[in-house]
Amino acid sequence: MSTELGDLYQEVILDHNRRPRNFGDLPAAARRAEGHNPLCGDRVTVSVVLEGDILKDVRFQGSGCAISKASASMMTESLKGRSRTEAEDLFQAFHRLLTEDGASADPNVLGKLVVFSGVREFPVRVKCATLAWHTLRAALENARDIATTE
């Protein structure tokens, strides 16, 4: 396997693809949004329970490629217990990791999410990796519209 492919499909990502964490729905009181990647038809629903400013619980449901499923799964793990501002900052850092050459892959900032650094070599897959994050943002904003990667 080429180095780039090995970097993309790291074992952690394959593991989250096989056994997604926090997969499911949250009680009706949760904020919820649906995300859609029209390019490939991937759909994800992210629900989040806020306690004050803190993301108390985050879950996702849906279907998609390994990158989008693993990204959603690892996003839910990374965000539990964080504040909304911290969540937004993490998304920004994550987005830079995926799109900017030489972006910081500091595990102190990104934690396990650094495994997605390989996506940078596959520009068409950036949307897969960010779908759940865009959807989370929509859920937090209580946006009624379906979040989309387009």
Partner: protein, 419 residues
């Protein structure tokens, strides 16, 4: 005159030999990520032979001028080349007359044209338009728009699990309210060859006209609109080794005569005053504005190219290739072929247990193998088949058994990554 000429039809065609064919397609001779390119995304768009590329370059280098305004030599040459291409397209689909061939941007525009002209004139509130469950979005949405506007109902012939139309249902779906039937000749997502001749017969028995979407058929099957007796037939140049942005609408003369124009503008008129416009005769009534002249000439060259090949040998080669690919890919663990219709051509759609088609596409790409992954602009079909998406390898006359071997090797790599 240096414009592309029709290939000499009297010349004896050489037996089909894929090695020689590949030399006609310059793009195939390249590496992608260090691996020889294996292009298996032909149902999305096909590659272009040197003859087509040369015809377009030759037109721009020697003959470029606007057409039907023939006051000077270049315009006369451009007009002659444009109209000669129309004649070749007419022969390609075996239409009776050149004026039944309308140049359009492609199949999508052709279907929109019919929906917005014939459709608007003939479909009213409570009427029905009949399509099938395996249509491309371009043969769904234009009819939906029409039905929405008119208060008409879009009805759908179902398919079975193999991807064959359920013809018994067709009979009961053809009702006194049906105003038009629109059906793909070949499914872009599954490769099913629909029994369009039988569908036309059944519809005509009730006086209902039929449009056949030939986008996926044109590069693979002989087309004979008079044998099919269809009322409209559409094709896209880029899927049959011609340029993008050009295609044709074939329509029976009496339909085209009766239809209002689609777009207004130059070239589609006979005379204009501010009070009244007399429309031009067929087919110019439907060709408003300066058309894609170079595209038409390129498409004419593509038709010449195809017509110059040994058709029987070519079809036998494609048939062999699909059978070989079906065995090779279908024999891999965790792989299921989607679409196993009795009559198929050129398309191998499949899913792999535990691997999303997009991941298959990414890994194959790094092996130099280009396929399509997704819903193939046929979301209702994907829903019917109970899949979110499929991976699709689609074949053309220049593909080889080695291409299929590379595909299978790439898929084994996918299985290794996603153990």
């Amino acid at each position: 005159m240096t414009v592309a000429r029709p290939a000499a039809r009297t010349a004896k065609t050489a037996p089909f030999e894929v090695r020689r064919i590949r030399e006609d397609f310059p793009i195939l001779n390249q590496k992608v990520f260090g691996k020889p390119l294996v292009y298996l995304d032909n149902a999305a768009t096909s590659q272009k032979p040197r003859a087509v590329i040369d015809a377009i370059v030759g037109f721009y280098e020697h003959d470029n001028a606007n057409i039907h305004r023939g006051l000077h030599a270049l315009s006369e040459r451009a007009t002659a080349a444009y109209e000669s291409a129309r004649g070749r397209l007419r022969r390609f689909v075996n239409a009776a007359q050149d004026r039944e061939i309308v140049f359009v941007r492609g199949t999508t525009e052709a279907i929109n044209l019919v929906a917005q002209t014939y459709g608007r004139a003939h479909v009213g509130a409570g009427d029905e338009v009949l399509i099938t469950a395996l249509e491309h979005h371009s043969n769904i949405v234009p009819w939906q728009i029409l039905c929405g506007e008119k208060g008409a109902r879009l009805r759908v012939v179902p398919i079975d699990d193999r991807g064959d139309l359920v013809l018994d249902e067709l009979e009961s779906l053809l009702t006194p309210k049906t105003r038009i039937v629109s059906v793909a000749h070949v499914s872009n997502a599954l490769g099913t060859i629909n029994p369009v001749r039988r569908i036309v017969e059944a519809a005509h028995a009730r006086g209902i006209p039929v449009l056949v979407d030939g986008a996926q058929a044109a590069p693979h099957l002989p087309i004979d609109v008079r044998d099919l007796d269809c009322d409209f037939y559409t094709l896209s140049g880029h899927k049959m080794f011609g340029p993008t942005g050009i295609g044709i609408l074939y329509g029976k003369e009496h339909h085209l005569e009766g239809m209002p124009p689609y777009q207004g503008g130059g070239d589609m008129i006979a005379s204009v005053t501010f009070e009244k416009t007399e429309y031009n005769r067929l087919p110019y009534k439907f060709e408003a504005g300066t058309p894609h002249i170079a595209g038409v000439i390129g498409l004419g060259a593509a038709v010449d190219y195809l017509s110059g090949l040994d058709a029987g040998g070519r079809m036998a080669h494609e048939e062999d290739l699909l059978a070989y690919a079906t065995d090779k890919v279908g024999g891999l663990p965790r792989v299921r072929i989607v679409g196993t219709a009795r009559e198929k051509t050129s398309v191998l759609s499949f899913v792999m247990d535990g691997v999303h088609p997009h991941d298959i596409g990414t890994i194959l790409d790094r092996e130099g193998v280009a396929i399509r992954a997704g819903h193939h602009c046929a979301q209702p079909l994907m829903e019917r088949l109970g899949v979110d998406a499929t991976a699709r390898a689609s074949l053309a006359l220049y593909n080889t058994r080695e291409d299929i071997d590379a595909l299978a090797a790439g898929l084994r790599r996918v299985l290794e990554v996603f153990r």
